[in-house]
C-alpha cells in the first residue's frame, strides 16, 4: 500500500502538449498550482481592497496585516529608500507563502519543492539586486567584495571569499527553501505511509506524529517564505546602502 514518498514531486503534463522549437512548454501540475496560488492571492487582495474603509473589515484587516508586516520588514532591513521595491518583495513573500501553504493540502502539489522554481526565483533576485547595485553605485558596487580595514596580505583571500559568498547567494537561497519543503513533505508522506501500513491498531502513533509534523510544516512554510523575503531584503540592502 505504501507508495514512493518522492512520487508526490513528479511533474506531469496537464492538457495538450505545447512545444516551441523542440522545447516542451506544456502546462503541468506545477503550473496549475502556481496558477491556483496566484488566484488565491488575487482573491485575497480583491476581498481586502474591494470595500476599503477607515475602520477595516476582516479581509481588509488581513490585507493590512500582511502589508504592514512586509512594510516593517523592508523598513527595518533596507530602510525607507526601498519603497519602490516593496511590491516585488510583497509578491515574492506572498507567492512563496501561498505555494508552501497550498502544498500542505492533501493531494496538492508543492511547487516550492522543485529546485528549478526556487533556483529561478533566487537567480531573478540575485540578478535584479546586482543590476540595482550597479545602477545605484556604478562600478563602486564592486567595493562589496573589498571590505575596508583588511590587512593587505589577506586582501586577495578576502576578495576571493567575498566573490564566492556573493555567487553562492542564489544557491543557498534556493536550496534552503527547496530542501525544507522536500524534507517536510517527504516526512509527512513517510508517516502517512506508516499510518496506512500499520492500520487502525498501530497507526495511531504515526498519525499523531503526522499531526505534529503538519503543524511544524505550517510553521516552516511561513518561516521559509519569511526567510526568503528577508534575505532578498538583505541583498537589496547591500546594493542600495553599501554598508560593506
Amino acid at each position: 500500500m505504501a507508495t514512493n514518498p518522492m512520487q508526490q514531486f513528479e511533474v506531469h503534463r496537464i492538457g495538450p502538449s505545447l512545444s516551441f522549437k523542440g522545447v516542451d512548454l506544456s502546462f503541468t501540475n506545477s503550473s496549475l498550482f502556481m496558477l491556483i496560488s496566484s488566484i488565491l492571492i488575487i482573491i485575497f487582495f480583491i476581498a481586502g481592497t474591494s470595500r476599503v474603509n477607515i475602520v477595516p473589515g476582516k479581509f481588509q484587516l488581513l490585507n493590512e496585516l500582511v502589508f504592514n508586516f512586509i512594510s516593517k520588514m523592508i523598513n527595518e532591513t533596507v530602510g525607507p529608500n526601498a519603497r519602490p521595491y516593496f511590491p516585488f518583495i510583497l509578491t515574492i513573500f506572498l507567492f512563496i507563502l501561498t505555494l508552501n501553504m497550498v502544498g500542505l493540502l492533501p493531494y496538492a502539489f508543492t511547487v516550492t519543492s522543485q529546485i528549478i522554481i526556487t533556483f529561478f526565483l533566487a537567480v531573478v533576485i540575485f540578478v535584479g539586486v546586482t543590476i540595482v547595485g550597479f545602477a545605484k553605485n556604478g562600478i563602486g558596487f564592486l567595493k562589496i567584495f573589498a571590505p575596508s580595514g583588511v590587512p593587505i596580505f589577506l586582501f586577495p583571500i578576502i576578495v576571493a571569499i567575498e566573490i564566492i559568498s556573493f555567487l553562492s547567494r542564489p544557491v543557498s537561497l534556493s536550496v534552503r527553501l527547496f530542501a525544507n519543503m522536500l524534507a517536510g513533505h517527504t516526512m509527512l508522506k513517510v508517516f502517512g505511509g506508516f499510518v496506512v501500513s500499520l492500520g487502525i491498531v498501530g497507526g495511531w502513533l504515526p498519525l499523531s506524529f503526522s499531526v505534529a509534523l503538519t503543524a511544524l510544516e505550517i510553521l516552516v512554510a511561513f518561516l521559509q517564505a519569511y526567510v526568503f523575503a528577508v534575505l532578498s531584503c538583505i541583498y537589496l540592502n547591500d546594493a542600495l546602502n553599501m554598508h560593506h
Binding site: V11, L25, T28, S38, I42, T49, Q60, F67, T91, I116
Partner: protein
Amino acid sequence: MKNKSVAIIIYLLFSNKIAFAKEGMPQLNPEFWLSQILWLTIIFVILYFLIQKFFSPKLFALIDSRTNFIKSLLEEAESCKNQIQKLENEYNLIISEAKNQSKKISIKLKNDFNDKISLKRKEFENILNSETVKAEQEINNFKKQTLENIENIAGDFSKELIEKITGTAPNSSNLNAVILEISNKEKKSQYV
C-alpha cells in the same frame, strides 16, 4: 559538428540527472524545467503587475489616509485640549478675582460694622454717664430729704419716749431745737 558536440554535452549533463531522477528525485528531471520556468515567469509577472499597479497603491493610499485621519483627529484633540486649558485658566482667573473682591468687601463690611459699633458704644456711654449723673443727683436729693425728715421722726420719737418715761409731754419747740442742734453737729462732723 559543433551542434553535435553541444548535444553530447547536454546529453551527458542531463543523462546523469535523468538517471538520478529516475532513481529518486523527480525534481532533477529536466524534462519540464523550461516549461516550469516559462509558466513561473508568466504567472509571477502577472501577479507582480496586479499587486504593483492595483493592490499596493490602494493599500498605500488607504494606510496614508488613515494615518492622516488619525493625525487630524489628534491635532483636533490637541486644539480642544488647549482650548479647555485656556478656559480653565480663565475660570481660575475669574474665581481668584471674585475671591479677592469678596475678601475686600468682607473687610470693608467688617470695618464699617466696627465703626458703627464703636459709635453706638460712645453714644451709649454718653447716655449712661448722663443717666448716672442724674441718678447720683436724685440720690443726693433723696438723702438730703431723708435727713430732713429724720429730724421730724426723731422729734416725734423722742417726744413719745420722754412722755412714756416721765409721763409728761415735753415742750415741742425746745425738743425740736435740741434735735436740730444735734443734727447740725452730726452734719458738720460728717461734712468736715
